[in-house]
Symmetry: C2
Subunit: 443 residues, 2 copies
Amino acid sequence: MKVVLPDGKIPRKWYNILPDLPEPLAPPLDPETDEPINPEKLKRIFAEELVKQEMSQERYIEIPKKVREMYSKIGRPTPLFRATNLEKILDTPAGIYFKYEGATVTGSHKINTALAQAYYAKKQGIERLVTETGAGQWGTALSLAGALMGLKVRVYMARASYYQKPYRKTLMRVYGAEIFPSPSENTEIGRKFLKENPDHPGSLGIAISEAIEDVLKNEKARYSLGSVLNHVLMHQTVIGLEAKEQMKEFEEPDVIIGCVGGGSNFAGLAYPFVKDVLDGKTDHEFIAVEPRAAPSMTRGVYTYDYGDSGRLTPKMKMHTLGHTYYVPPIHAGGLRYHGLAPTLSILLNHGIVKPIAYHQTEVFEAAVLFAKAEGIVPAPESAHAVKAAIDKALEAKKEGKEIVILFNLSGHGLLDLKGYEDFLDGKLEDYEPEEFPILSAKS
Amino acid sequence: MKVVLPDGKIPRKWYNILPDLPEPLAPPLDPETDEPINPEKLKRIFAEELVKQEMSQERYIEIPKKVREMYSKIGRPTPLFRATNLEKILDTPAGIYFKYEGATVTGSHKINTALAQAYYAKKQGIERLVTETGAGQWGTALSLAGALMGLKVRVYMARASYYQKPYRKTLMRVYGAEIFPSPSENTEIGRKFLKENPDHPGSLGIAISEAIEDVLKNEKARYSLGSVLNHVLMHQTVIGLEAKEQMKEFEEPDVIIGCVGGGSNFAGLAYPFVKDVLDGKTDHEFIAVEPRAAPSMTRGVYTYDYGDSGRLTPKMKMHTLGHTYYVPPIHAGGLRYHGLAPTLSILLNHGIVKPIAYHQTEVFEAAVLFAKAEGIVPAPESAHAVKAAIDKALEAKKEGKEIVILFNLSGHGLLDLKGYEDFLDGKLEDYEPEEFPILSAKS
């Protein structure tokens, strides 16, 4: 059972949560001066229109026609399914629904913002977008967006993934992108890390630094980020806006669940529903799920921190484990990030969103149960949301409550089968660090 | 630009071409006696209802409710896209449309018959389905169908693929199937081939023999085939029936294209349109595309031959290269078959369907062009249809004709990226044998 929508129902506007937040966002700080950053400086890094969106107090921002056309091409609106078999297997009175972003042609929600970012850069006359990627979902999405909008794309890919996950790299090459293993010889920061350790496995934080350095050296290049920032989360709200329309065919959701790395897929589904709660119109429970190996929500500190290891990004006020934290190599590469979107950090602080953390073994166990019941093999990231949805449905069973659960299945796992293989072979390791750089720095 | 259909538009009946064929089908022969086979004997191999369907003269056969429910779960109806960017890049007056079977959760059309076969087996009280798989698309589909219908599944996978394509194997394991590398120690035939060559790479033909031998030893097991047979092709007609409905939003197609291994995805899209031509209602051109490494249509002989290497299947009258032909290791594993569906063989003989053959390098070149334009990375099999569609669109450009092209994008290539990597690295080899076993046997 599912609800599909025609092209005509692709949302016409993104929802911007900034004007509705329970408190104003703390300003990003210039990494050189620790003063609120001058937007002009940000325009050297990001496309102009994105800098405007980042600060905008407009509640709804129009989606350009060309972006909507490409949303159609890549598979939007995505379907919303009811997990009828899973409900039967769990023998739960709960209704379990999921929005399936894996139905896009690159297999995850990342393409939603990639297309918007590429569109605005092209419009401004930018020739190349530069970015980083961990597991490769974001790099893949931006590579395709570049191909569709007519822009060159350069990707710094964490060195360990570059060599261990050759197929995401191949996918980016098919779309015509240029890919460097990070740390690379291309940048000063890359060379510094390579000098310390020629076999450096790389990290998202280092790759971000390299991408920004690359951009600062090239007038016609701009940087693209796949999560964390307001404009990125805003572009993702097409997920929730569609889901609201689709849930009308069923019921009002009681619980809304998404996994969290930087926060963009969670926000994409949840923010349009959060608005109704902030407006006092209705009540929803929001659950944000993170890995215990990168627990910025459950164990991080709310403070100003850099977004990257090389300290090139503005400092943002957010939940963070410290920008020098090396996240252990869990299979959910998209969740291996030390920080958290500032807007989501505020919603956490106000108790509007509740965090929960899982180990990867229990997450894969839930994912396999889900795959056998519903046919879709979840991405390891999205599997965190699956696990929380199952736990919630079992809780409802215990309490005999007919609740309605909606979660974001933000991507499929067809390019992440190594994780499943390790799980089936009993080879998965769980990681839970005892301490984090941000805590040591404080003490 | 695309057309989606709601669950309610999932077809209620399959279209069976048998009563409409321009000549009756030659009967399958008993491999032991060379006499027309007794259907009772077939019931020991296949589920009863499938044997009935195989011979049925009913033009439309009802799709069971449970199968339609599962069609919804796995992503049916699939979307039909217009390839607007590809049209622009080719600067062609042709309209290019494609039916996207890669949108199903296992990523190809194979699930359409897998669900039907599993349903009828379960209804009959069968406990296990046994099958073979080459590249793994069929094995994956049957594994999921087993999970959804509550049946055990055992898959014999060509040994070379088993070791070189571990991720399809992982996917089948996620769905709970049991997988053996073929030739295996499990069967007499497997042991015979292993004795000749302990490193035997295996083949589809050998794996079929092993699966059938396995079934014959187990009363509660039945065999499942993923192509060639009438009932399999008939289950695939949901593709064309949906596409006819979807094309109403656009135009009547002039040319209909599909790739061909055994013939099931081609038939799935084309047969509902072939019916209109056989009825004299309209005119369509049908193009069936095969690899030059397995050219059963363009270089095979129309004669009785076995479906497998071990000579356990009934003999069928079809275009064949000879059941002992070892198809060179092209990346389009699903097209590595020596024979051709008997019904499609008849349509070829009558000039209703035209065959064409391509080398894999030109096919991957077309696939990369398509991926950059439309975002979808085609399976190497489906890329054969992409190549033919592009050629046809360029021909229309030369002739200044506004023709309408419809092709079947039968699967995505996210689990076939090795082929793309080899192509991008200039490492692909093309194969075109000078002769074939069937010709040597004749001479």
